[in-house]
Symmetry: C2
Subunit: 227 residues, 2 copies
DNA sequence: CACAATTATTAGACAAGGCTAAAAATATGT
DNA sequence: ACATATTTTTAGCCTTGTCTAATAATTGTG
């Protein structure tokens, strides 16, 4: 995946927001439906249709009417650039400025639109070329390459397994605050105690501290690796 | 000067740009003429007239047709907030990321529009509550207060005077690069050798290094204090 | 002081990006 | 399979911020 040939491109904030939404939805659902995009951006579906037409003309995506949008290589490169900027700024906000990991999203959302390749590269170097952001998500490098981790959902673990939390998917503020209140964060190690079949909830015990219960909604979104 | 009562206010980028331009021009020329504003923003005078009308309705400035614009207290507070953000980001870019002081303006111009009071306050603390930016310009504090320095223009100095450069006014990229190439920067100490009456140029000698000549255009924009 | 030059405003157009309401295409349930 | 529900698109309108061209006010000059 190359980020080259994207420099001369100058996109509006709205165009960038659409591209990033499509990228995220495609990663999550396998496709990006018009309604899903509009919901993510708090706009109406008709506005999204217009924008899809426009971005298709700019060769940033393919738009199959009534099916959805698929980013071209060029569009994917733009999206990765945005993800890169977003996650680097989140890292800066948490590691350097002392923000909580649950309060950085909105600010990073603004900072990711500051367009300066030099800025992003220098920021990355200043932060020590991190490969993962404070939520555990991978930070694409200058060329769009992503370091993969072989993780699974906590949900899929059985009793006795000892795992370390490495990422939180679907990072809504509500979920992040809930985790914070239970003392769960990136790096926390847990042992699964018991899984309750009827509602999918599970009892877990942190290395230090006493056991408690997590609903399936929560364990679903915790990405873990063996520990 | 209070920055309170400005929080609930949400301005577009263009509105903010106009307010800042008016603030800067008023500081420099004593007034902000329509043409001067449009030149600064690379737009046309008619566009500025429209915007002045709009901002006057929002009580951010007084617009006397055919005279110009004058910021209200509320408008001044917004402007100071923007100046604060701009200079803090410039300081970050130079001191932390290692940018040259002549390449930060454009990027800071984008970053100053990121709206988060918490971000700005934390950034200020991270930088050690600086009172002056890399160009020597004062950074307004949270409440809009500016630390003044009793400086004069190098232009106004006579032979034998020993002075330290503390600021550069009218910071165009061209001027900044010229200074850089002569080894002149904030903190440099000089002794005035001779002033030539016919063109206002002056010979100066840095503490370390040999003497050279500066045109009036340059010495005009160097702010110095006795050393 | 009168008239030219400059500066500012008004009037009307346009592109971007959003909206609502209605129509068209696709998906679903019995 | 056919009627209904859902999703997407189209059509037309609105606001913001810009422009050009024409007009009006102010300033400068012989």
């Amino acid at each position: 995946m190359y980020l080259r040939g994207v420099k001369e491109l100058s996109l509006t904030r709205s165009e960038e927001d659409h591209i990033k939404a499509i990228h995220t939805l495609t990663r999550r659902d396998g496709r990006a439906a018009t309604n899903a995009i509009s919901e993510r951006l708090s706009t109406k579906a008709s506005s999204v249709t217009d924008m899809l037409k426009k971005l298709a003309e700019k060769r940033l995506l393919k738009h199959e009417p009534y099916y959805g949008a698929k980013l071209t290589l060029k569009g994917e490169a733009v999206a990765l650039q945005l993800v890169r900027r977003h996650r680097l700024w989140e890292t800066f906000l948490v590691d350097r400025l002392g923000f909580g990991w649950d309060e950085v999203h909105e600010v990073a959302e603004q900072m990711e639109h500051v367009a300066s390749e030099k800025l992003v590269d220098k920021l990355e170097a200043y932060l020590g070329h991190p490969h993962f952001d404070p939520h555990g998500d991978p930070i694409p490098d200058k060329h769009g390459r992503i370091r993969q981790r072989k993780t699974k959902s906590l949900d899929s673990c059985g009793p006795g397994e000892s795992v370390r939390i490495v990422a939180v998917s679907e990072t809504t503020d509500g979920l992040l605050r809930l985790l914070d209140s239970k003392g769960l964060r990136i790096g926390t190690t847990l042992v699964v105690q018991e899984v309750h079949a009827f509602d999918g909830s599970m009892d877990v015990k942190p290395k230090s501290g006493s056991a408690f219960s997590l609903s399936k909604d929560v364990s679903d979104h915790l990405q873990v690796e063996p520990s």
